[in-house]
Symmetry: C4
Subunit: 206 residues, 4 copies
């Protein structure tokens, strides 16, 4: 099966999920008594969560293009794992809104933050599982020959990318702010171009 | 007429429908008195319906790619049947939300479940009608030569795929939970890769 | 300039507009006292408007593919007219919701229906203006040679397609139901495949 | 890395952002006592903002296609700057809704207008930064040879495009209506085809 429609469908779902994030930003009711500046300032968790999720989805898209670029065909097992990955991405507008709504609350804030970083952990895990399947069980679908050592190295780097999200989920019990900060730091770390500027785009999360 | 834009438009509609499902997940109001964990747990029908619909739309997309891959051109009759199929897919975020909202209600729950599985039945029927049209009335548009026996076999398998949804719709009168469970079982059955892992992706729903 | 991205962008906007129509369908609040069947039955204007708008946008997409297929390149004037056309399509989820909300009201129903069919008229007009520009002022961008007679005939047929919407807008003052019925009849007329089944897809609205 | 998926993803995000603008148009509640005509007339800021933002996003899409057409490959630094640009576009449905909601308010209207034109300024700035990076630091990725003089001229024109938005943001303190009018004038100026009709599409904002 040709992979062009898989790429088009994945691009569509990821582009929609990243753009739907804007629906989590709410316009304060005019004439509510307090000033607009005050109302908008109160919503800073929504803006912070928006930026972190936007960057994170953008990075996963970059990694997704890099992962699929290696393939010359797909089969049903790959379509299935790709669908699982897309589900974990498509749900992010919800977990982002949840985290933003509860960040400053005095009840539920730890659970909301844990769900947020947990959803990012799940997304990274789905990416890892799909990548592992391609590199270990579908070697004959790859364009280029990768030695077992290279493949193990790629997957090890990929697996290490799960650690910050696992840590962020764990510290949600202590501070939801810390969870958001860690997720944001991960996004900035992978989004920023390497100083050489010529790193192959698939480098980051792997 | 070239089929590339038909694929692009269909990919777009299906990708949007599958991603819009997330709008059916609602963030509980902070500070509502009960704990967030309790509020989220109460919403389990929404999460279950989300997963079932996401998988189902994902499968219909896989089957759609397989169906169109066989074609080397399209005409107005195909565009029309494709539009009908897309309408049955595009409406699923509504019927999914309806089912999720009423699953635990004490009134209307049977009707809501019947509408949900009925909408999946309608989608499968639209797929079957389009597929039948291609295989019987547009044979000269197909890339490969399929013997009448092969074509009948494909359509028979396709028609059998309607039965679980018809059954799920019928049992909605008894239990909406059973309806959801059947729809979920169908989704998992078709989504899971066959054990060989090399089944052609068009096999499942046909 | 290559037309591939114009097609991709137009497919995207049209696919999103047609899929966003589902957001106009509302799930009745559970436990509102009246039966779900009754509540859903009351919403029939929303379902009727959904189907009419879905078919209409689907037809305009078919005509759009046919129109662009004739071109071998685009310039800024074409991009501008295409953007105008896309704006008239992208606004349809709003005018559809407006018509559905007011169809059974005792105040505003005539205006809402006039706005609905007026928006369809505007869309057809934008299509006509763009088509006219291509056939008269951008002849050198066309793949095929069309004689002036053929071009006039195409545009005359195209212009005649405006009449039903103009009529539907006029009768909105008498009956919004009639307006919706006319718009629905137009959609069905153009959507249904011709009996030969091999009509070139660009035939309908032109 | 091939640029096809970058174009597809960007087309997706921009097409979704431009189409989501329609969610900012609200259907007045039927039976609210006042006439529908009156209610709709009261919403004119929403319609004006819709048209201005639709045109502006359409123009940035035209410029984006022109910018990417010059490239024959992309690297991580380009993907990162493109993601930043897409974020400034994806947020426009929010800032548009904010401006529309406050235009006629007696409190917060200046801030809302400043945020609106500020978001357009940010978008233009992100475009300029990305364009500058391509023309100065990624010359070896360009299809065509551009002399340093040509590149400076293109960037100077591009930088001049920031001025109207900076001015519109500054005058928001005086009159939000003036801010909207300036943003609208910019959109019309760049959207309208040049009289020759054959200007290369990348001319406008650069």
């Amino acid at each position: 099966m040709n992979k062009a429609r898989v790429e088009a469908f994945s691009d569509g779902v990821i582009a929609i999920a990243i753009t739907l994030l804007v629906l989590d930003l709410h316009v304060p009711e005019p004439g509510s008594g307090t000033s607009l500046a005050h109302e908008l300032a109160k919503q800073w968790p929504s803006y912070a969560a928006y930026v972190v999720s936007f960057l994170t989805i953008g990075i996963i898209w970059i990694n997704h293009t890099a992962m699929l670029r290696r393939l010359n065909r797909v089969d049903h097992s790959i379509l299935f794992l790709n669908l699982m990955l897309l589900m974990t991405i498509a749900v992010l507008p919800f977990t982002t809104a949840l985290m933003a709504a509860y960040l400053k609350a005095t009840d539920g804030e730890n659970l909301a933050a844990a769900i947020y970083s947990g959803s990012l952990l799940l997304m990274s895990l789905a990416f890892f599982v799909m990548h592992r399947h391609l590199l270990l069980a579908r070697v004959h679908f790859l364009h280029e020959h990768l030695t077992p050592e290279v493949r193990s190295a790629v997957l090890r780097r990929n697996a290490r990318g799960l650690l910050p999200y696992a840590f962020a989920t764990a510290v949600a019990a202590l501070s939801p702010y810390l969870t958001l900060a860690i997720c944001g730091a991960v996004a900035v770390f992978y989004a920023l171009p390497a100083t050489t500027g010529d790193t192959p785009p698939e480098a980051p999360i792997e």
